[in-house]
C-alpha cells in the first residue's frame, strides 16, 4: 500500500468537510465541518512528514491543532454570544451583520 493513499483519504475528508460547511445551517455543525477540514489537512501533513523522512510536517500538524483549539474557543464563544441575543444558532441568522 502506498502512503499516498493517506493523501487521497485526506482529500476526501476535506471535500466532505467543505460540503458540510456549505450545506449545514447550524453554526456548530458548520464549525465541526471546519474542524474536519483542518483534520484532513493534518493527515496530509503527517503523511508528508513520513514520506519525506523529516519531522517538520508533524510539527506543523501540531501547530495546526493548537491554532484550531484557539479558534474553537473563540468561535464557540461567539456562537454562545449570538445565541444569547438571537436565541438561534443558525448561521444564516447573523446575515444582518452585512450592514
Amino acid at each position: 500500500m502506498n502512503p499516498s493513499n493517506y493523501i487521497l483519504l485526506s482529500a476526501v475528508l476535506f471535500s466532505i468537510g467543505a460540503i458540510g460547511v456549505l450545506v449545514r445551517r447550524n453554526a456548530i455543525i458548520v464549525f465541526m465541518s471546519v474542524e474536519l477540514m483542518l483534520n484532513a489537512a493534518n493527515l496530509s501533513f503527517v503523511t508528508f512528514a513520513r514520506m519525506n523522512g523529516n519531522l517538520d510536517g508533524q510539527v506543523v500538524a501540531f501547530f495546526v491543532m493548537v491554532v484550531a483549539a484557539a479558534e474553537v474557543v473563540i468561535g464557540l464563544a461567539i456562537i454562545v454570544t449570538i445565541f444569547r441575543t438571537r436565541r438561534s444558532a443558525s448561521i444564516d441568522e447573523p446575515s444582518l451583520l452585512k450592514y
Binding site: A18, V21, L22, V30, I91, D92, P94
Partner: protein, 631 residues
C-alpha cells in the same frame, strides 16, 4: 571673491544673532498670558542683545584685513535630497554686517518706541512676539549663505509682515491689507523660488559661494532669466512696479511696524537680494537694465503718490516706494551703483524710520488721526517730534550735510555716469521729493490748527521721543560718518566690487543742480501748502492728483489685469468642476451604483453563500493547476 573664513571667536555666535529674537518670539507667542507682564521687555531685550552682538562682530570684522572679512558658520546639513544639499549655514560679510546693524539697532529703537506706542494695546505681548519673529527672520535672510535659506527668511519676514499689517485684524481694512500684502508678495516669492530652482539646475548648488563662483559657466540667457526672476522677487518684497500696490495699504499696521518693516528693513530686502546677487547681474546686462527701468518707474510713481496723499503714513509710504526705487535703480547701474544703493538704504533706513516714528508720534498726539488736513500748527506743541521730523525731512530731500544728501547725490552722480537721460530723471524725482516732503511738513507743523473737536495735541512720552532723537541724530550725521569716517565704499568693495569710472562732469555741478531742483520743489510745496491756507476738504485737483490719490490706479490695473481674469477663470473652472468633472465623477458613481445594485444581491450576508464562492474559487484554482500540470 574673497575666501570664506571659519567662524571663530565672537563669530562663533552668529547663530545667536538669530536665535535670540527667535527665542523671544517663541516665548512670547507660546508662553501664553503668563508672559503678558514681562513679555514686551523680553522682546526689547533680545533685540538689544542682538544689536550688542552685532556691534561686537563689527568690531571683530574691523580688526581683520579686508579680504578676511567673510565669515562662514555651518550649523548642520539642513536638506539633503539626492544631489541637492543645503546647509543651515550663515555667512557674515561686509554686506550682511551693515544689514545686521541696521536691523538690530533700528529694530531695538523701534522696540523701545513700541513700548510707549503700544502701551495700552491688550495684545501687546503678541505684537512684540511678532516683532521679534520679524527680526529673527530678517536676520536669517541677510545672514544666510545660500538662496534656500534666504528663501526661509524671505518667507519669514513675509509672514511677520502679514501678521503685523493685520495686527488689528478686527478692522476689515487691516485684514484686507494684510491679505493683499501677502498675496502680492506671493507673486514675488514665486519668482524667488523659480530663481532658486533655476540656479540649482544650472549650477548644481544654491549657496552664494558656489553660484557666484560659477556664473561664467552659465549662458547669458540663463543668467538673464535668473536675474529677471530675482528682480520679480525684489519687486514683490520691495513694493516696486508692478507689484507696488500692497505697500500703501500696509500702513494699516501699527506705526512702529510701518517704520521697521515697511520703511527701514523688510522692504529693502529686494535691494539686498539684487546687491547680493551682483555677480549674476554683472553678467546679465538685460536683467540689470530691467532693474534700472523698474527702479526709475517706481521712483516717479512713489513720488507722485506721495505728493497727492493726505494720509500722513500713506504719503510717507509713497516716499518709501520712491526712495527704494532709488536704491533698486542704483543697484541696476552695476558695480558703480551697488555701494550707493546700500549706502542710501542705510541712510534711508534711519531717516525714514525716524520720519515714520515721528508720524506715529504726531498721530499719538492727534488721537490716531492720520489725515494731514486735520493737522497744522503742531510745531509749538510737539517740539521734539517737530525737530526730529525736520531732521528726517532735511535728510530725505537731500540738504547737506544731512545724511540723505550724501547717499542720494551719489546715486544721481552714478546715474549721470551711465546715461544723461536717467540722470536728469533722478534729479527731477529729487525735486518732487522736495515738493511732497515740504507739503507734509507744512500741512503738519505749520499753518493754522485744523484739528477735530476734542483733540488735544501733546508731546509723546520719553520712551517714544528718545528713539526719535537717536534716529534724528542718525539722520543728521550718519551720511557723513559712513562716507568719510566709515569709508563705506571701500568697506563694501570686496562684496560688491567697485568701478570708478571717469567722471565727465565735475561733482559739484550735480550737487548744485540737484540742490537747485530740490529747493524749487520745496518752495513750490511751501507756497502751495505753507503760505496758502489748507482746505479741510481736499479740492478736486488735477487728473494727476486724482490718479495719485487712487495710487495711480494700481489697484484698478491689478483688478483688470489679474483679479477679474482670475475670478472669471475661477468661475469658469468652478462651473466646469461642477458640471464637467463632478458630472463625470457623478456619472461614474451612478453607473457604479447601478452595477452595485445588481451585484449586491450576491452580498446576502449569508456566510454559506460566501463559502460557496470560496469553494468555487478553490475548485477553479485546482482545476487550473491540474490543467497546467497535465500540459
Amino acid at each position: 571673491m574673497t575666501e570664506l573664513m571659519p567662524a571663530e571667536g565672537v563669530f562663533s555666535l552668529i547663530w545667536l544673532l538669530i536665535a535670540l529674537p527667535l527665542a523671544g518670539a517663541i516665548v512670547l507667542l507660546f508662553g501664553g498670558r503668563r508672559t503678558n507682564s514681562w513679555g514686551p521687555y523680553l522682546g526689547v531685550l533680545t533685540v538689544s542683545a542682538s544689536a550688542v552682538l552685532g556691534v561686537l562682530m563689527l568690531l571683530g570684522l574691523l580688526d581683520r584685513p579686508a579680504e578676511e572679512r567673510t565669515v562662514e558658520q555651518t550649523l548642520f546639513t539642513w536638506v539633503f535630497v539626492g544631489d541637492f544639499q543645503a546647509d543651515m549655514a550663515f555667512q557674515l560679510d561686509q554686506l550682511s554686517m551693515v544689514f545686521v546693524l541696521l536691523i538690530t539697532i533700528v529694530g531695538a529703537l523701534i522696540h523701545v518706541y513700541s513700548l510707549g506706542y503700544m502701551a495700552h494695546d491688550p495684545d501687546r505681548r503678541k505684537f512684540f512676539g511678532y516683532l521679534n519673529l520679524f527680526v529673527a527672520a530678517m536676520l536669517l535672510l541677510v545672514l544666510a549663505n545660500n538662496y534656500l535659506l534666504v528663501y526661509v527668511g524671505w518667507e519669514g519676514v513675509g509672514l511677520a509682515s502679514f501678521l503685523l499689517i493685520g495686527f488689528w485684524q478686527a478692522k476689515p481694512s487691516a485684514a484686507a491689507a494684510a491679505k493683499k500684502a501677502f498675496i502680492i508678495n506671493r507673486v514675488g516669492d514665486v519668482g524667488l523660488s523659480l530663481a532658486i530652482m533655476l540656479m540649482f539646475v544650472t549650477f548644481g548648488s544654491v549657496s552664494f559661494d558656489d553660484v557666484f563662483r560659477s556664473t561664467s559657466e552659465a549662458s547669458e540667457g540663463t543668467l538673464t532669466a535668473i536675474g529677471l526672476l530675482l528682480l520679480l522677487a525684489a519687486a514683490g518684497k520691495s513694493a516696486q512696479f508692478p507689484l507696488q500696490a500692497w505697500l500703501l495699504d500696509a500702513m494699516e499696521g501699527p506705526t512702529p511696524v510701518s517704520a521697521l518693516i515697511h520703511a527701514a528693513t523688510m522692504v529693502t530686502a529686494g535691494v539686498y537680494l539684487i546687491v547680493r546677487s551682483n555677480a549674476i547681474y554683472n553678467a546679465a546686462v538685460w536683467a540689470a537694465t530691467a532693474v534700472v527701468i523698474v527702479g526709475l518707474i517706481t521712483i516717479f510713481m512713489g513720488a507722485i503718490i506721495g505728493s497727492a496723499k493726505d494720509d500722513i503714513k500713506k504719503s510717507l509710504a509713497g516716499s518709501t516706494m520712491s526712495q527704494i526705487g532709488y536704491m533698486i535703480f542704483a543697484a541696476g547701474l552695476g558695480p558703480i551703483g551697488y555701494v550707493f544703493a546700500i549706502f542710501h538704504l542705510l541712510t534711508h533706513g534711519v531717516f525714514k524710520a525716524g520720519l515714520f516714528l515721528g508720524a506715529g508720534s504726531v498721530m499719538h498726539g492727534m488721537n490716531d488721526n492720520v489725515n494731514m488736513r486735520r493737522y497744522g500748527a503742531l510745531k509749538g506743541l510737539m517740539v521734539i517730534t517737530f525737530i526730529t521730523f525736520m531732521a528726517g525731512y532735511l535728510a530725505i530731500i537731500g540738504i547737506p550735510p544731512f545724511s540723505g544728501f550724501w547717499s542720494k547725490d551719489e546715486i544721481i552722480h552714478a546715474a549721470f555716469e551711465r546715461n544723461a537721460f536717467i540722470g536728469i530723471a533722478t534729479i527731477l524725482a529729487a525735486g518732487i521729493t522736495g515738493f511732497y516732503m515740504t507739503r507734509m511738513i507744512a500741512m503738519t507743523f505749520f499753518g493754522k490748527p485744523r484739528w477735530e473737536e476734542g483733540v488735544h495735541p501733546h508731546e509723546s512720552p520719553a520712551v517714544m521721543t528718545i528713539p526719535l532723537i537717536i534716529l534724528a541724530l542718525g539722520s543728521t550725521f550718519m551720511g557723513m560718518a559712513l562716507l568719510f569716517w566709515g569709508n563705506i565704499e571701500s568697506w563694501l568693495e570686496p562684496v560688491t566690487g567697485f568701478a570708478s569710472e571717469p567722471t565727465p562732469l565735475p561733482t559739484m555741478f550735480y550737487i548744485g543742480v540737484t540742490l537747485v531742483v530740490v529747493i524749487i520743489g520745496a518752495v513750490i510745496g511751501w507756497i502751495t501748502y505753507g503760505v496758502k491756507p489748507v482746505p479741510i476738504d481736499p479740492p478736486h485737483g488735477s487728473w494727476l492728483t486724482r490718479a495719485a490719490r487712487k495710487d495711480l490706479y494700481g489697484d484698478a490695473v491689478n483688478d483688470v489685469l489679474v483679479v477679474q481674469p482670475s475670478l472669471a477663470t475661477a468661475r469658469y473652472l468652478s462651473w466646469f468642476d461642477d458640471k464637467g468633472i463632478d458630472g463625470f465623477v457623478n456619472g461614474i458613481a451612478r453607473w457604479v451604483g447601478l452595477l452595485a445594485n445588481t451585484l449586491r444581491r450576491t452580498q446576502s450576508g449569508l456566510v454559506r453563500s460566501y463559502a460557496l464562492s470560496m469553494v468555487g474559487g478553490v475548485f477553479v484554482v485546482v482545476l487550473a493547476l491540474l490543467l497546467v500540470r497535465m500540459n
